[in-house]
Symmetry: C2
Subunit: 307 residues, 2 copies
Amino acid sequence: MSVDGLTHHISSRYNEDLQRLLSNVLAMGGLVERQLLQAVEAITDPDEEAVVRVAKGELRVNQLEREIDEDCSRILATRSPTASDLRLILTILKTITDLERIGDEGEKIAGIATRLAARERPRNRYRELRNLGELVIGMVHDTLDAFARHDTELALEVLRRDRIVDEEYESIHRQSITFMMEDPRWIRRALDVMWVVRSLERIGDHSKNVCEYLIYLVHGRDVRHVRIEEIERELSESEHGEAAESARSAPGGGRPASAEPPGADSPAVQPADGELSGGYAHVATLPAGGRPGMLGAAGLPSSAAGK
Amino acid sequence: MSVDGLTHHISSRYNEDLQRLLSNVLAMGGLVERQLLQAVEAITDPDEEAVVRVAKGELRVNQLEREIDEDCSRILATRSPTASDLRLILTILKTITDLERIGDEGEKIAGIATRLAARERPRNRYRELRNLGELVIGMVHDTLDAFARHDTELALEVLRRDRIVDEEYESIHRQSITFMMEDPRWIRRALDVMWVVRSLERIGDHSKNVCEYLIYLVHGRDVRHVRIEEIERELSESEHGEAAESARSAPGGGRPASAEPPGADSPAVQPADGELSGGYAHVATLPAGGRPGMLGAAGLPSSAAGK
């Protein structure tokens, strides 16, 4: 048996392992997104069952988190991944923690929605809450999409949107204080609105975290605690035009190819960490277009696609 | 060169790697704890510099998080750890995320403390906030202590204390609403109090997360999303008396030996995950008492020790 044959065999099993992992992460993400959608809808359209459905979904989310966690441990123990495969697994381990916490916040929102439903409903104001909710659900959706396609352009866009969420948060917050001051009977409702807004803001932060992990995965650059302008400048400098060229020549797939993971033949983007470098050699050996297509179909649920 | 010699050599370097890692995690934790102490103190004792000091400390915390993160990646890539070593590294990767977020909450508290300091101070009420703050700082302190000593008894105690934090949270929350309703001029201050309490509650949750990771590390049992009574019952069943015996015969070190990591000669506690089992064989090869002593001194800062 040749060394090459063995490597090939291991690599093929590897692909299966990694694909199953990614598929599960996206299934978990899709579930979390659907939960969030139900929770936010319950704010404007009272639905007594929502809180029960969300709580049930949360059990499944927790179960998926544990399964993925164990799967990562097993792959680390049995395959000793290095370079980009190792980065992928570490990224997944961090990502599922954030996804699980998005699920937690969704559960909180569903609970508050039930409380809000029991009180007099000021249609107009909760609309604002719903708008912010949709903005945040969009962030979660695009984060999962970016993750499935290794689309760092989309990830950057999500990072940018987090500022809008922060501004909306401030605005609804200020407004709620005004209502409270004008009429003390508004205090409890205004506080509930504030808790929802805060949960939504945290969900935005968790999405942002996942996008940052993705940028680390693809570009090998740790962008946590770095201003968005700086990230954009650095990534555009490191790509200096080559990505744009490859985008024009790449087969169409709904997204610019500059967003695809840089392959072994795209040395423009150099991971920052010496020992773990190696670009995206492993992923690049997958059949062209195989991962995004498969994962797009398997990972993103109909509720997300139909949003 | 004998296989045994090589293994021995690698194992020795391993020990250095793992000790450096643990040492850095505890240094990071100590820093976070000190930040939190400064932030909470600033609530009752106005201190204009506190917010600046905490922000500066936060930069160092973030830097440490990145360093430990990279160190874990490097060890995974170069040493391909398995069994308990792998679990240790995965535990550390999760732990530093929670520590970093405790640091974030500490920074928020310091900011609000500055705002509260600018307003009329109702001595008595902020005392409650401070009491809760001290309770939570105690949780963080004991979490780090439990982590340094692999003391799952202490970790369980921290989990139990989280309930008291939740009760205190509810109590201050209700009280704040009452104040708001009685006098609208209280609204902004009461909201600030509520934000601090919520931050403290989250810090309690993060401590709880770390304690749960530790229980997984030592007992191989994933106790996330499991009720505390069930955890206690399971762990006491799996130990069925043997731990208590070894506690009496172990050399004194300020803590019961039942809390020490189970060594290769302590097969009573069996990790739940088949492939990753192996007890605590690796850690058990360290010089007796070496880890807790060394880490206790290096990791826990004087501010924490003097609490």
